[in-house]
């Protein structure tokens, strides 16, 4: 029972950290002259 409680706590912590894992970033894919695409910051918000 203690093990289940500890696992629950671990999972709650994991969930919280998952929610903050990624940084906010808005990118625009721009076609370059050579035909490949590159991501640039998107400013048209």
């Amino acid at each position: 029972m203690v093990a289940a409680f500890e696992e629950g706590q671990k999972l709650a912590k994991l969930c919280s950290s998952k929610l903050n894992e990624v940084e906010r970033k808005i990118e625009l894919l721009v076609k370059k002259a050579d035909g490949t695409a590159a991501a640039e910051p998107f400013t048209g918000e």
Binding site: E21, R24, L28, L29
Partner: protein, 478 residues
């Protein structure tokens, strides 16, 4: 002369008009006509009056309320329409006109036919099958958007995404969303985002517009790109009422771009609340469990056996006493022979019990003896001793001591303090230190036994010679 003139046929206006009406209606009957709506009027009657015109001509048109009910598009000036109705004459005004029974946006008919045909074909291929639909990920962190970078849709989407989940990675693949080449761009963008990878979901769409505006989302090339996408696709084309083949092909259809953003990304605040709630309930559950166990413990502690264990023994003792008395009384009442037998049995029982007690006692003594043997101090009783340095460590080598150092030697009974007078190769001259009371100081070193002698001799090799050490002969160095 009046007689020379041919007789004039003079019509009454109404007669002539009726005649014209009959001729026109007979000649044309019902026809389809295409033109642009202008001068639209809708009086309280609910009927609609307007003019259909093209570059050079116009035609009056009327559509009665009953026929209007079957028209799906909102009438307005400037709208290109195709209508079906009867050519007739409005006698009161002397105007000829068309009384429309059907009306649809011009061009719509052909588009719809093409759309139906394509839908049928792709449905037959199974591209719209429900089994193909994939669920959206529970927590998308990287979202791709295929739409115009300048339209209202991208603004709406980004705004909703920002509101619902502040820290989200969004990749916008800019495309045209109407006109020639739009479909190809949309399809290529979907493929490109799939090639880049690392995305959890794709939003493909645009804001509202006419059927023609939205048309690229009905193109086969877009439908197939959506079907091909390994990333789940959510379509968001136009308004709630607009349906396109992209919507049918997508894993999820959203009524609007904003709704798509809401469907893809759950509210972070809501998710955080749920995690916190789960953690709180976990804590409460644990507390409840602890409380339950504590109650059980309390109840157990209140039971007689734990509150007063001796009471149980006393009760048993009482029972034994009681039974003893009964046995005695019973024996007294028995015939001689039986009583003797019972007494013999009792005697045997007692003997057996004593035997067992004696056995247990021996086992106990044996165990105690073994325990004693394991005690290092037991060796001291055999004449060995332990010599410690002033700091309490056991002395193992002559090099560890300096002249003048006071050593403590533990014996089986009591201990001796002695001062070191010399070490290392100095012949012992019997000059005793003040406190020395060495037991067995006259014993020869040769009397060392077993392994102890080895250690002794090693310290001898080092040249170490401690007064009271080798001389004592039986010093045991651990």
């Amino acid at each position: 002369m009046p007689g020379e003139q041919p007789a004039r046929q003079v019509w009454k206006v109404s007669e002539l008009t009726r005649r014209i009406k009959g001729t026109l209606e007979g000649a044309f009957g019902s026809v389809w006509v295409e033109g642009e709506i202008s001068n639209l009027r809708r009086p309280a009657s609910g009927h609609a009056y307007f003019t259909l015109k093209d570059a050079t001509s116009q035609l009056r048109a009327v559509m009665f309320r009953s026929a209007l009910a079957g028209v799906s598009l909102p009438l307005k000036d400037g709208l290109q329409v195709r209508g079906y109705g009867q050519i007739t004459v409005y006698e009161a005004a002397g105007d000829y006109q068309i009384v429309l029974r059907k009306l649809e946006a011009a061009g719509e008919g052909e588009l719809m036919l093409r759309l139906e045909a394509l839908k049928k074909k792709l449905t037959a291929e199974g591209l719209f099958a429900l089994e193909r639909k994939r669920p959206l990920p529970a927590l998308p962190q990287h979202v791709g958007v295929v739409t115009s970078p300048t339209g209202a849709a991208i603004r709406d989407i980004l705004q909703v995404l920002k509101r619902r989940f502040g820290n989200l990675h969004v990749v916008v693949a800019p495309v045209r969303v109407q006109g020639a080449g739009a479909a190809e761009e949309i399809a290529a963008a979907i493929d490109l985002l799939n090639e880049r990878g690392g995305l959890d979901a794709l939003i493909v769409g645009r804001g509202g517009g006419s059927l023609e505006d939205l048309w690229c989302f009905n193109e086969e090339i877009v439908v197939r790109a959506i079907v091909r996408s390994r990333i789940p696709v959510i379509s968001a084309v136009g308004h709630e009422i607009d349906w396109t083949l992209s919507d049918l092909a997508a894993d999820v259809r959203a009524p609007t771009p904003s709704a798509a953003a809401e469907m893809v990304v759950k509210s972070k605040a809501e998710l955080e609340r749920r995690v916190a709630d789960a953690a709180r309930r976990l804590g409460l559950g644990a507390q409840a469990a602890v409380l339950a166990w504590r109650n059980r413990l309390d109840r157990a502690a209140r039971t007689p056996i734990l509150r007063d264990p001796l009471q149980v023994v006393r009760q048993r003792q009482q029972t034994v006493d009681f039974l003893g008395v009964r046995l005695h009384n019973a024996l007294a009442g028995l015939p001689q022979l039986v009583r003797q037998r019972a007494e013999t049995s009792a005697h045997r029982m007692e003997l057996a019990m004593r035997l067992r007690l004696a056995e247990s006692g021996r086992a106990l003594q044996h165990a105690q003896a073994q325990l004693r043997l394991l005690n290092p101090k037991a060796v001291l009783t055999r004449g060995y001793s332990l010599t410690r340095l002033p700091d309490g460590r056991l002395l193992r080598a002559a090099g560890e001591v300096q002249p003048g150092m006071i050593l403590k030697t533990e014996l089986a009974a009591g201990a001796v303090l002695s001062t070191v007078t010399a070490t290392e190769g100095e012949p012992h001259d019997g000059k005793n230190s003040q406190n020395t009371k060495l037991r067995g100081s006259t014993d020869a070193p040769g009397k060392n036994r077993s392994g102890d002698g080895k250690r002794q001799s090693r310290s001898g090799e080092n040249g170490g010679r401690v007064r009271g050490g080798p001389e004592a002969g039986q010093t045991l160095l651990f």
